[in-house]
Symmetry: C3
Subunit: 482 residues, 3 copies
């Protein structure tokens, strides 16, 4: 098995290196320096600044996902879930650099070096080389890269506590290289969904569909493929609660996600000269808090307990729900959308566990999948026509709703279909699930050779194996000299 | 009791929804798109970008408060304090959307839709509807919203470990809807304090008074109303130390607060074209570090121990102290202000515990209340006349000091008075304090049905109650299908 | 000893206060208001905004360092390492304000008030007074301040778990006042290295050398001077692994550092009108992820375990490596640089432990020292000539490589030399190492009088000593009334 991993990883690395060599010899024909770009349009300075800072905030959401998922996991699987969250954006980043960005934005002509592509798939911009070695293309790349990373990382939560790390990393590569970009091309990269002949075409301002529904629905296929954790369902199929290990991580992670969402949604204008950014930021805030308030009080009314985990997921539900419509609706509608998203969340949580009998330890399928689809729908209902000529039901138009329904169907079929193929393939080759013994012992010791919280030993019991460094890592694994 | 909560919450929700319906039918007469605003003033792009990013940083301070307070609380009350910190800005946010913003900025004419109001109270801008559906108004709203949330969340620390969650949430609504905005109107919203006939009128650049003194003094009334924790004072009235449970949270939380303060103070220009932002940022940094250094070495000199909790509170004291004067003073003065604030902090901590006999588990009254008042005073002393025509004692003027003293008296009377009424009212109706049994067991189990750090159970002991989802939350509480 | 500390601290404070008095009477001749500066150049608004926000992100890296180091430390030394990380930037900040900034940027003429200096040392700008009370100078100061803080804080990790807190704080003052600024002057402040007659002179865009190599090499001298932790090396000199106590802190800290690096590198343009910022941000991201992927898979291939601690250090290695060349190279080269940096890291880790026999609990010497030197080298190899007229080997030029080699030699000699003198001096006067008993018991109790994670006590056992406040701090140390 270790040999297989080594071979797979080696092959991927060789492919990457060959690609790099190819790009090294290509001549840059874009504007890598930026002087000409600025001369042509002085507002590029503030727009680059805005978009890049937004991208940084979105990047930071990775820490939020890591904390929320670690908090909802048990102590014995903490290092495992942290590793998945740390590595999926790293591996996905190389995949998006090599393949994903070109497949998604080739043909969009949104920046230099993105000329070649068709309504189904993009075919230029790979490795940011040639004309794509340009300041505008690099700006677009970074912003889109952190979005791709968000979609990829959603899945780890739904598959937590029983998935092999190596298979998860392979998934990260494939979803960032292929699954995410191709659907993304259809909506944002010059593809066919954006030009549907209904309303203004399918509209998904910041990615309720492209990022969250894709992530959440692929997560559903992943959780189904790997199966529930031992003990999640009783013999007669009733779900049991398996408590996580740290609610402070969950709350801090949610705060970080909320913070990062202010990059996610307002940053999606890619321009500060589009002053709608203030309305988008306000809408984002309002939907998030409305989701939290509804989720908390609905639970409190029913059980008498103030469930902060549900409040956190409620906030995230509201944020996911407002992601598509954030630019097209008024603040009052954002409160309504956030509140409704909390109900969608609660309904979906019930459905996933009790009807589908799927084990999703953090609620990722419901938060991102169900509320992502709801966000697409909300555009068709609440868009008020003040921005981008997008008008929904409340403005008296049915066309936009039609476009949104088509998009909802397409993303559902695409994400479930490719997710099924992807995880079936991984299951048949690398294997998807940790062994029964590993699951009982916890993945931290078995796959990572470490504990999340080792107790103090004043003096190490025995010397490290000869010739290996034994650095500050809590790992017991040595590292070879390069 | 549960019935009362449900009724109160339902009534508040109905009021909100009716308000929303009203706003839905109102026509927007502002500039919700932003194109006209930009055309009239191209610098709006960089100023919106600056102000929004600053608002995002201030938002993130909520995570800092949550961590500092959780760290200073005991394990058994950790979920409780996290829940309060997570929900107060959510509930306060809806209150500020519906009522607070209009009461605070109506009549200020700082943006569209804020025309109606008088020196005592604002009367327009509610629900961001009508003319207030405008990009400029939304920008102002978000920035002011996160400030209101900061003021509200200060109180949770002072009342930690013995306050009922439902009463605390009701407090959050009321302080954000009424207490904070009305005094804020007097200073920032076109009210009477800003036009006092001394110096340049009362000056509070980023809210030592509006945010911190209000929060800290309301916290004092809250801590007095709820009474000290069991065991805080011995039979003869001597205070005892009740250690918190996680110093890493305290330090991380302080770092986050310090980071967010760079949005709080420099962002309060609402404009990057006001280049004074660089001096403000430098002043903020210097006051924070000076406060930390003085607090640490003063404690070290006295006790021989390097008390990082005191250093953290010293940094926060310096930051609170510089918040009002940050734009009006020179860097050297910021070092002095930060250093003095650390002494104010230490004196106030002694006073609160030993003279007032009040139990403030995190020192919120001293950090925000006492140092907030000191910040107002510092404007009258250290303002050097280089910015905004504000000159204090060191520039030879006494008038500004007079204005600041009046403001200090007003905020003290307002915050203590309204705080007293607020908590007396809650005490008489919903009740303020958890029961003796709940306090001994810890609020996490009794009010939230969860522990902060559950130990691993490989398999849940028994199935969840029929029909309820049992999601990744560590909660034992189920959630009803909507 | 306590008396010595008090005297030293008092003397430093008096010196600071005298300096402040001096600055208070000096007249400002710069532009403290900023109105004239903006009139002369309207792009200052976006450039100030960009640079300040970047500085805020770099500031936040302090939290990242604190968490990574705390996670790699044992429970019993957690408060100690947190205190060091919190206080070093505070004390270093005052040192840089008083002395460092003037020594580094005097004579650079990069802003007002920085006219006096020579190629060896700067001699103006102290205390930000006189002409330096200017918006441009303050902007530069804050950005450079947070860089100096980064260099200073690197050392704490290498000396963790056995260094006296008071000596460490004295080190922080001296390195920020003298060691860092003087070398920094040579490269960034108008000094002699920038004008070497090879290539474009020594180039270090964002500080692989100025910040990281200096910090990492001084850390090496510190770790050597204080000696290894008890039990780190067996009797026959073999290194042993001493596990840290919290891998979640390590991963969260690394995420925060990565996030902050987006301020560190792109912010170093000091201008958003330099659109190369997008390429720099992309390069930063790519090098970081490539380092993580290589470090993880190299370890996985060798040991079969996915070591997340090594992945985190791999990411940091890539980030350090790209810091000097980030502006001068293409994205493909950043992937290569990040990947190579991971190998440099692993080689250096082995070398430090097995050849030098130095105990560096977090790998700071390798991550920052070795990879910092490698970053300087990478400029000479991979610079492609598209930016700033810097061309390395791949563009057919040898001159730049020569300049970089000279710089590498200089920084090595300077950092090792001054570091040696600094720690030898501290060892001879204040003493550097905690006692054997303190090290066994842990520094938290002995130096700080607190534990990181106290267990709940429902009621404190006995009253605090008379007259002392007993605030929410977990400290057992009281605080004197000022």
């Amino acid at each position: 098995m270790a040999a297989l991993i080594r071979k797979t990883a080696s092959a991927a690395l060789v492919a990457l290196l060959l690609g790099l060599l190819g790009t090294a010899v290509a001549l840059a024909a874009g504007d890598p320096n930026g002087a000409d770009t600025l001369k042509a349009d002085a507002t590029k300075a503030v727009n680059f600044s805005w978009t890049l800072i937004a991208a940084f905030l979105v990047f930071f959401m990775q820490a939020g996902f890591a904390l929320v998922e670690a908090g909802f996991a048990r102590t014995k699987n903490t290092v495992n879930i942290l590793t998945k969250n740390f590595m999926d954006f790293c591996i996905g980043g190389l995949a998006f650099f090599a393949f994903g960005f070109g497949l998604m934005f080739g043909g969009s002509k949104l920046a230099e070096g993105l000329d070649i592509g068709n309504p189904l798939v993009g075919l230029s911009g790979f490795f940011l080389t040639g004309d794509a070695y340009d300041v505008g293309t690099n700006m677009l790349w970074l912003f889109q890269m952190v979005f791709a990373a968000t979609a990829a990382t959603i899945v780890s939560g739904a598959m937590a506590e029983r998935t092999k790390i190596t298979s998860y990393l392979a998934y990260s590569f494939l979803v960032s290289a292929i699954v995410y970009p191709i659907y993304g091309h259809w909506v944002w990269g010059g593809g066919w969904l954006a030009t549907l002949p209904f309303g203004a075409g399918a509209k998904d301002f910041a990615g309720s569909g492209v990022v969250h529904a894709v992530g959440g629905l692929v997560a559903l296929t992943g959780a189904m493929a790997v199966g529930p954790r031992m003990g999640k369902f009783s013999a007669d199929g009733k779900p049991r609660t398996i408590p996580g290990h740290n609610m402070a991580y969950v709350v801090l992670g949610t705060f970080i996600l909320f913070f990062g969402w202010f990059g996610f949604n307002p940053g999606s204008t890619l321009a500060a000269t589009d002053l709608r950014i203030s309305v988008i930021a306000t809408n984002t805030f309002l939907a998030g808090i409305a989701g939290a308030v509804v989720a908390l009080y609905a639970t409190l009314a029913r059980t008498g307990k103030a469930d902060v985990g549900m409040a956190c997921n409620g906030a995230l539900a509201g944020l996911v729900g407002i992601t598509a419509p954030c630019a097209y609706v008024a603040p009052w509608a954002s409160v309504v959308i956030g509140a409704l998203a909390a109900f969608v969340l609660m309904g979906s949580l019930w459905l996933v566990e009790n009807v589908l009998k799927v084990d999703d330890p953090v609620g990722a399928v419901s938060v991102h999948g169900a509320c992502g689809l709801f966000g697409l729908l909300a555009v068709g209902i609440f868009a008020d026509g003040t921005y981008g000529d997008v008008s929904g039901l409340i403005a008296g138009n049915v066309g936009q709703l039609l476009a949104q329904l088509v998009n909802m169907a397409v993303v559902t079929v695409w994400a479930l279909g490719t997710g099924y193929v992807l995880f079936a393939g991984l299951k048949a080759t690398m294997g998807l699930r940790a062994s029964r013994q590993e699951e009982i012992a916890g993945l931290d010791i078995t796959e990572h050779g470490v504990q999340a919280y080792p107790a103090d030993e004043p003096v190490a019991a025995e010397p490290a194996a000869s010739g290996l460094p034994a650095t500050g890592s809590t790992s017991t694994a040595g590292v070879a000299l390069a």
